[in-house]
């Protein structure tokens, strides 16, 4: 059931072939939704769901898709899934759907999705494609969560909305770093993560 290939499809994107850190895909949404932890987690889960399902669907119909319109077919499948996710969010988590607003819709254009569909699902069976989708989604979510945790902790002093930094720190002159909430800090945080990641994986370093 779990061949070496499937294993690789699942585990590679978590670190060695991470979509954000190594392929530098999906950066736009990483900047946009990571000011606090909750939307980042919801966004991550949404991407995992859309990615896994679209990978499976495309993989199932891969032999019937006319090559000339394959991108359109992929887009329609992804768009349909994203709209479903969006509708579910409006129905079951209205506040988060308001916070994420356009970014859920922008999953459609998330480069990770199209990249995986083109590079993997079109040439592989449904099971490895499913694992690949989950793996890449998780790889993306991990980075999103780390960035969001750092930004929320130092920007607002809280995690998931709960105050983490105790009041006496503020009494002694500690202040939240407003810069953390602004988009540039997401870039810098991602860059720092990439730095640490490269340092620990010498095979990824450019010569």
């Amino acid at each position: 059931m779990i061949s070496k290939k499937s294993k690789e499809a699942f585990f590679n994107p978590l670190s060695k072939d991470n979509p954000v850190l190594v392929q530098i895909l999906g950066i736009c949404s990483t900047l946009a939704v990571t000011a606090s932890l909750e939307p980042a987690i919801v966004m991550g889960i949404s991407v995992i769901v859309v990615m896994a399902l679209s990978n499976v669907i495309i993989s199932l119909i891969r032999n019937t898709i006319p090559t000339t319109i394959r991108i359109i077919v992929q887009l329609v499948v992804v768009a349909a899934l994203v709209i479903c996710v969006q509708q579910f969010l409006v129905a079951y988590d209205y506040d988060v759907s308001k916070q994420l607003s356009v970014f859920i819709g922008l999953i459609i254009t998330n480069c990770i999705l199209m990249g995986r569909l083109e590079a993997f699902a079109l040439n592989n069976g449904p099971w490895p494609s499913f694992l690949d989708g989950i793996g890449n989604g998780l790889g993306y979510t991990i980075i999103l969560v780390i960035v969001a945790a750092v930004r929320e902790l130092f920007g607002s002093g809280s995690l998931l909305g709960f105050q983490v930094i105790p009041q006496w720190c503020y009494d002694h002159g500690y202040e939240n770093n407003g810069l953390m909430i602004l988009p540039p800090m997401a870039l810098i945080t991602v860059a720092c993560i990439i730095w640490v990641h490269r340092a620990r994986n010498p095979e990824l370093m450019d010569n």
Binding site: N63, T64, I65, P66, T67, T68, I69, I72, V73, V76, V77, A80, I83, C84, Q87, F88, V90, A91, Y92, Y94, K98, S101, V102, L182
Partner: protein
């Protein structure tokens, strides 16, 4: 497969079937989730109305109970300021988007009774921001003149700039206590760039820097929507006057 996958007919057929299938699935999802979504949207509206009278509620259940507790009246008034309709939820069900364009415009008013017994009149406003619609709720004191509180929302203003009409609590708060009437004339509170003043001596609040058009939109929205209520406000004013004088007589 014997069919040529790259023939025109195959492609067109493939696309057509795919679109039909996807369309059906989406229509089904939409229909299935609609009631739940409508409820969320209605609850969000209640939350906005409550926010105009400074009542905060944490979750959906609380919003509902607080709304039932504080919003004691739900009416439509006419241009002469008389109550035209007070059936249940008659104001709540007005869709402001279509209403501002309608020729027989409805004028919804939500009457709120606070813990101390004072009445506030919450009036919905709707207008245009920079990228899309903006709307809000303005609570007016029972003197028919001064603003008690306001809440603004937007569909797609720029985060960090125009979106601050919602996100920055200081902006709606700056409307509090401003008056809509000067010397008995309607002078709607205006949103002005820092350092500028309205020419007609109206009250004003500071615009948001970097969001000139959204700020202007709020100003125009208030003016255009509240103008229709002048007669209603004047009625409130004369009522308070009467109340005050009768009170004086009693005391004497």
């Amino acid at each position: 497969m014997t069919m040529n996958k790259n023939s025109n007919s195959y492609q067109i057929l493939y696309a057509a079937i795919m679109v039909l299938l996807v369309g059906t699935v989406l229509a089904f999802v939409y229909m299935a989730l609609k009631p739940k979504q409508d409820e969320n949207i209605a609850n969000d509206k209640r939350r906005q109305i409550l926010s105009a009278i400074h009542v905060a509620a944490a979750n959906d259940g609380e919003v509902k109970t607080a709304y039932e507790k504080y919003i004691t009246g739900d009416l439509l008034v006419d241009v002469e300021g008389n109550v035209a309709d007070s059936a249940q939820n008659v104001a709540f069900d007005v869709d402001m988007k279509n209403n501002i364009k309608a020729t027989d415009r409805k004028l919804p008013v939500f009457v709120a009774t606070l813990d101390d017994g004072t009445k506030k009149y919450v009036i919905p406003v709707y207008g245009a921001g920079l990228w899309g619609p903006i709307w809000g709720y303005v609570a007016v004191n029972d003197d028919g003149k001064t603003i008690y509180g306001a809440n603004f929302s937007h569909a797609s203003e720029t985060p960090g700039l125009g979106a601050r009409i919602t996100d920055d609590p200081a902006f709606p708060a700056s409307f509090e206590g401003k008056t809509l009437f000067k010397d008995g004339e309607f002078r709607c509170v205006e949103v002005m760039k820092r350092g500028q003043k309205p020419t007609n001596d109206a009250d004003y609040v500071d615009a948001l820097s970097g969001a000139t058009i959204t700020s202007r939109g709020v100003s125009v929205m208030m003016e255009q929507c509240l103008t229709h209520y002048i007669a209603f406000f004047k009625k409130l004013q004369s009522e308070t006057l009467n109340k005050d004088t009768s009170h004086d007589i009693e005391e004497k």
